[in-house]
């Protein structure tokens, strides 16, 4: 290598390392891994996201125009259905599962408690067609949207023509869902060295790392795997989780590990909302072994915590609440849709 080339090589290396350091500092969320789906750029001004937001809140998605996605996914509850163990849809029909919270979806690959949906764009088809949720169909929805001058206009704004087809409807809904990002909890601010944990939160964090982090893995607080956490099968629901999708025996009793972020807003807990309080969840993890013999439960051993340790752990879990996300008006009922509904 000539001296000139050596200088060139060294110079390039130096430039790149500065660039890398710069990226590192500019993005304070360097502890967050790369998402699986492309995040929508500038969501507040992004027409596709805003169209999806209107569809998300519009009752037009249900067969009788009375319920919407937001009926079970409330922005003020981190898009979960708080205070309902099993979510209810059209004609007061009760579903089989607890509506999961919606945030940081771009970091998941598959959706629903059992991973039934393998791609975010396909997700909306499931509640749309379920007779206990929106009770409609994509065909019916397209007919309704095409006959609405409001939506013809909105689609024109986004796509440059007024064609309304499945792809566009599903794409706009999913881009709104992908824009629901929640990394502004106290935990995040501590990670970004803007705040510090209290002594109790710090002790709780250590307990969390010892007992919970293997499945509720930082920083997303889930590894998004399908695991058996030892819950008994509800004799009425007979819900075998992942097995219903794969038909593979070893997938019986397995459900996707949910994220613990926004934990205060998303009660009740578990796929069927059987636990109202975090203490009930901790009771389960302490005593699950007694009830389910013969199952391969994905927990090494019961999590036995003293009264004080429980308080510490819960105080840490509360640092995962992101109030900025929950009260973000950019995710709430869109004004443009409100105006349109009043007009009618």
């Amino acid at each position: 290598m000539s001296i000139k080339n050596l200088f060139l090589f060294g110079g390039t290396l130096l430039v790149f390392s500065f660039y890398w350091l710069d990226c590192f500092h500019q993005s304070p969320k360097y502890y967050i891994p790369k998402p699986n789906y492309k995040l929508p750029v500038n969501p507040e001004q992004n027409d596709t996201v805003q169209l999806g937001r209107m569809l998300f809140y519009d009752n037009i998605l249900s067969a009788n125009n009375e319920v919407s996605c937001a009926s079970c996914h409330n922005s003020y509850n981190a898009f979960a259905h708080t205070d309902h163990d099993l979510s209810h849809g059209i004609y007061d029909s009760i579903g089989n599962r607890n509506a999961p919270a919606l945030f940081n979806l771009a970091w998941q690959k598959e959706f629903m408690w059992d991973g039934a949906i393998h791609h975010i764009e396909a997700q909306a088809l499931a509640p749309l067609h379920d007779s206990r949720e929106l009770g409609s169909s994509i065909e019916e929805l397209l007919i309704k949207l095409r006959s609405s001058s409001f939506y013809r206009n909105e689609f024109f704004k986004v796509y440059g023509d007024s064609l309304i087809n499945s792809k566009r409807v599903l794409q706009s809904l999913s881009s709104f869902e992908l824009s629901l990002i929640s990394f502004n909890s106290k935990y995040d601010r501590v990670k970004q060295q803007k705040e510090v944990f209290t002594k109790q939160e710090k002790q709780g964090y250590l307990l969390f790392q010892n007992h919970c982090n293997r499945c509720h893995t930082e920083p997303l607080f889930s590894n998004f795997e399908y695991l058996d956490n030892g819950l008994t099968v509800d004799p009425f629901l007979q819900d075998f989780g992942r097995f219903l999708i794969t038909n593979v025996e070893k997938d019986k009793y397995k459900f996707k590990v949910p994220s613990l972020r926004n934990i205060s807003y998303t009660y009740p807990y578990m796929h069927d909302g059987r636990f109202l309080k975090l203490n009930e969840v901790l009771d389960h993890y302490e005593g699950f072994q007694k009830i389910n013999q013969g199952r391969i439960i994905n927990l090494e051993k019961p999590i036995k915590l003293s009264f004080n340790e429980r308080a510490d752990l819960i105080s840490f879990l509360f640092t995962l609440n992101d109030e900025h996300f929950v009260f973000n008006q950019n995710h709430a009922f869109p004004n443009r849709l409100k105006e349109e509904l009043i007009k009618d």
Binding site: H118, H119, A126, N165
Partner: protein, 205 residues
């Protein structure tokens, strides 16, 4: 050699006109029969592929729009074999929801668990123990171990610009025990078994 257009026509029995319901025999008939064909390749010295990757063949729809596939710039004297997938490949499934033939409005997309239905056959059989002697076979799924997508490979014996690809419904129906198996609507061992039988029912007329 002159390049020409080659026309593939999917049919049930040669020159048959499909009525609704399509009668198979005295007691059995089809009310719905459609399937996906993907990645068609005709091979000779050269390889020819169809412009569109995915086609929905529907026997109860207009022949020219739903059963005839045209391949351009093909040398008709250079055709030895044809290969295609019965169903949708897993890569396309993983890409999410598609447009055109792949639009979920065609009733060939599962909504309770996502993925395409590769092969849908519904009808009536005297052997079926279901309500009104109905049967519904929805074969799909792309996840292991129950992926029902099958590769079909057929030899082309004569030189022609029109290739008739037939599906032997009688053969397919005859192996199914409708008394015990009239409804399949999810990926399973049985759906894979039937997809393999469907694969063996294609022949060049």
């Amino acid at each position: 050699m002159q390049k020409a257009q080659v026309q593939l026509e999917f049919c049930l029995i040669s020159d048959s006109v499909i009525h609704t319901p399509f009668r198979i025999n005295e007691t059995d008939s089809l009310t719905k029969f459609k399937f996906y064909i993907s990645h068609i390749e005709i091979k000779g010295k050269n390889k020819y592929v169809s412009e569109k990757e995915h086609h929905l063949v529907d026997f109860h729809k207009n022949k020219h729009t739903s059963r005839v596939i045209k391949l351009n710039n093909v040398d008709p004297s250079d055709l030895l074999e044809i290969e295609f997938l019965l169903g949708i490949d897993s890569k396309t499934c993983n890409d999410g929801v598609g447009e055109g033939a792949l639009d979920p409005i065609h009733g060939m997309y599962w909504t309770w668990q996502s993925g395409y239905i590769n092969f849908k056959m519904e009808g009536v059989s005297k052997n079926s123990s279901a309500k009104k002697n109905r049967f519904q076979l929805h074969l799909g799924g792309f996840r292991k171990p129950y992926s029902s997508t099958q590769k079909v490979n057929l030899t082309l014996e004569k030189e022609s610009s029109k290739i008739q690809l037939c599906f032997d419904v009688n053969k397919f129906i005859s192996v199914i025990d409708f008394n015990n198996q009239h409804t399949i609507m999810s990926p399973s061992k049985e759906s894979v078994r039937l997809a393999k039988i469907a694969q063996s029912c294609f022949y060049v007329n």
